[in-house]
């Protein structure tokens, strides 16, 4: 088990946002977290990481901070980079939880591997803030890869990306899962979530409405309840295409 959440409840500004959420993630899963805006997806991720106080337990939140940081990497929704650091220095931040802190020999190997995997070699010395949105996103993912954790938690990782970058990002997450890592990502595009994720969790108003295979979760009645929409589903050779109407 990579992550176990049991009975998580969260109240923010006197408003309950999560109600007794329980969830277990296994190695090799790419889990898509879907649900309408305000369903509690970001809160669920932050609570799982122990970033916001809650009742219930998260196997991550109970770890000491440094150990937790070697177990789970987190890509927040905000892609703000405060200072004009180089791509290489940005990626090196992922090594902070490890003994070398970013300057050791093992750190160098992890940093170089992450930069190569995300195709960032030509941008290594460039200022990350001055890259395009897609390139910046790749640099931030490389930072999370350099952290070298069994679990990656990504909050809307494909929001704001062009279609090619979206596909590249989701393919990478699928590859990571195939390598035995676990990825938990919130995704708004139901069609892409259906094509790439091995499992979906549907969240609505702070409750887990459904958790399981793509077919079990993307049911008309569940989607109508969660989003208030009906969907047209067309099976294509590349996977299901889902059209909200």
């Amino acid at each position: 088990m990579v992550l176990r959440l049991s009975g998580l409840s969260v109240t923010r500004r006197n408003r309950p946002v999560l109600h007794g959420v329980s969830l277990s993630l296994n190695p090799g899963e790419f889990v898509g977290l879907i649900g309408p805006n305000g369903a509690g997806k970001s809160s669920l991720m932050e609570t799982a990481l122990g970033l916001i106080p809650c009742t219930g337990t998260s196997s991550l939140a109970t770890m000491p901070p440094a150990q937790r940081a070697r177990h789970a990497a987190y890509l927040p929704q905000s892609r703000d980079i405060a200072w004009p650091v180089s791509v290489e220095d940005l990626v090196a931040l992922g090594r902070i939880p490890w003994p070398g802190g970013g300057r050791g020999g093992l750190d160098r190997i992890a940093i170089d591997a992450a930069i190569a995997r995300m195709g960032l070699e030509p941008y290594r010395k460039r200022t990350a803030q001055r890259l395009s949105g897609g390139e910046q996103n790749r640099a931030l993912i490389a930072r999370a890869l350099a952290q070298d954790t069994p679990l990656l938690i990504a909050d809307e990782p494909i929001a704001g990306l062009d279609p090619a970058q979206q596909l590249a990002c989701l393919r990478l997450f699928r590859e990571l899962a195939a390598e035995g890592r676990t990825v938990l990502a919130s995704i708004h595009d139901l069609g892409l979530a259906a094509r790439f994720c091995s499992r979906l969790v549907l969240l609505a108003e702070g409750h887990v409405l459904a958790d399981g295979s793509v077919d079990a979760v993307l049911r008309d009645d569940l989607l109508a309840r969660a989003f208030g929409i009906t969907v047209r589903r067309v099976d294509t050779p590349d996977g299901p295409a889902i059209l909200p109407v």
């Binding site: 901070p65 980079i81 220095d89 902070i96």
Partner: protein, 328 residues
């Protein structure tokens, strides 16, 4: 980065030496240094050991403290316009000093002024802790700092307003401008230990400040404890800025300008900027303190006035940069 770490330490040493050799007495270099090292008869050892040495040490230490505190606060708040005065500690220290001048305490014993200034700084930290709370975000901290600065400013104005005679008011105004003239080794021993402790608290936060480049949530996910970092930095900045203000008065712009100028030279990494800014702050303040003695030797040009004159044009550069679409 390598260039800076090679260039800055010798520059600090050279300027410290230059500071020791600058003064109205017009003494020769070799006899000055001989008197400083070996003592002897006559006024020379007194001039070197009791007047110039404290001034040179305080120039380096106060400058380094302000540079370090400024770089740390900018890194923590993720804002290049933050400066050590922002959290209100220096304002409260100044208020303490002003009260000492007003009440005549500063005439009773030379240490009364810096000690009341330190008490003011401590009161400022207490207020900051009460207002900003243990868990608030950086915006709460800034707001609390602004409130404390405003309160300290109002208190200082009130003391000036009620001052019994124009001489006391004059003395307060001149003290507020900041200076290193006529400080003794007692001032050094009063300021140095807390400032070293403050630096010892701030310097280990280097990688945590690096992690904050990605925002608070990402930094926490990298193992940074937000609450511990916050208190450590507040304590460290208070321990450097409080004593600095207590012995040198309110010297602005050093903590703002130095990190700003050096940032591009260290690849913008907060971890590299902290030591560089400490050295850079020492360079700037030593140079400014030599300049005030050389520009108008017959008039007492205040150090804080000079740093403001040097620092203000930086904002013109920033305005120029942001108007042409760049980031600050």
């Amino acid at each position: 980065m390598r260039w800076l770490s090679v260039a800055l330490p010798p520059l600090v040493a050279a300027l410290t030496l230059a500071s020791l050799l600058t003064g109205p007495a017009g003494l020769g270099m070799s006899e000055s240094l001989h008197a400083l090292a070996w003592g002897g008869d006559g006024p020379l050892p007194i001039v070197m050991r009791d007047i110039r040495l404290p001034r040179a040490i305080l120039g380096a230490v106060v400058g380094a403290g302000l540079g370090l505190a400024g770089a740390a606060l900018q890194g923590y708040l993720r804002n290049p316009l933050a400066e050590p005065g922002l959290i209100g500690i220096s304002g409260m220290a100044a208020l303490g000093a002003v009260i000492a001048i007003q009440t005549g305490l500063s005439l009773a014993t030379p240490l009364a002024l810096p000690l009341t200034a330190l008490a003011g700084a401590a009161a400022g930290v207490g207020l900051l802790a009460a207002l900003a709370g243990p868990r608030g975000g950086s915006v709460t901290l800034i707001l609390a700092g602004v409130a404390i600065s405003a309160l300290a400013g109002a208190g200082t104005a009130l003391v000036l307003n009620l001052s019994p005679n124009p001489y006391a008011a004059n003395e307060i105004v001149f003290w507020l401008m900041g200076s290193l003239a006529d400080r003794s080794l007692l001032h050094v021993w009063l300021a140095l230990p807390p400032m070293v402790l403050g630096a010892a608290l701030i310097l280990p936060t280097r990688r945590a400040l690096d992690a904050l480049t990605l925002g608070e949530a990402a930094a926490q996910s990298l193992g940074v404890s937000a609450v511990a970092l916050r208190w450590r930095l507040i304590a460290g900045i208070a321990l450097t800025v409080g004593p600095a203000t207590a012995v040198a008065g309110a010297i602005g712009f050093v903590g703002l300008v130095v990190p700003h100028v050096l940032r591009p030279w260290v690849g913008a990494r907060p971890s590299a900027l902290l030591p560089a800014s400490a050295l850079g702050g020492a360079v700037l303040l030593l140079a400014a303190d030599i300049a005030v003695r050389l520009i108008v030797p017959e008039r007492d040009l205040k150090l804080g006035v000079l740093t403001a004159i040097v620092g203000a044009p930086l904002f013109l550069r920033l305005i120029w940069k942001t108007r042409s679409g760049g980031r600050v």
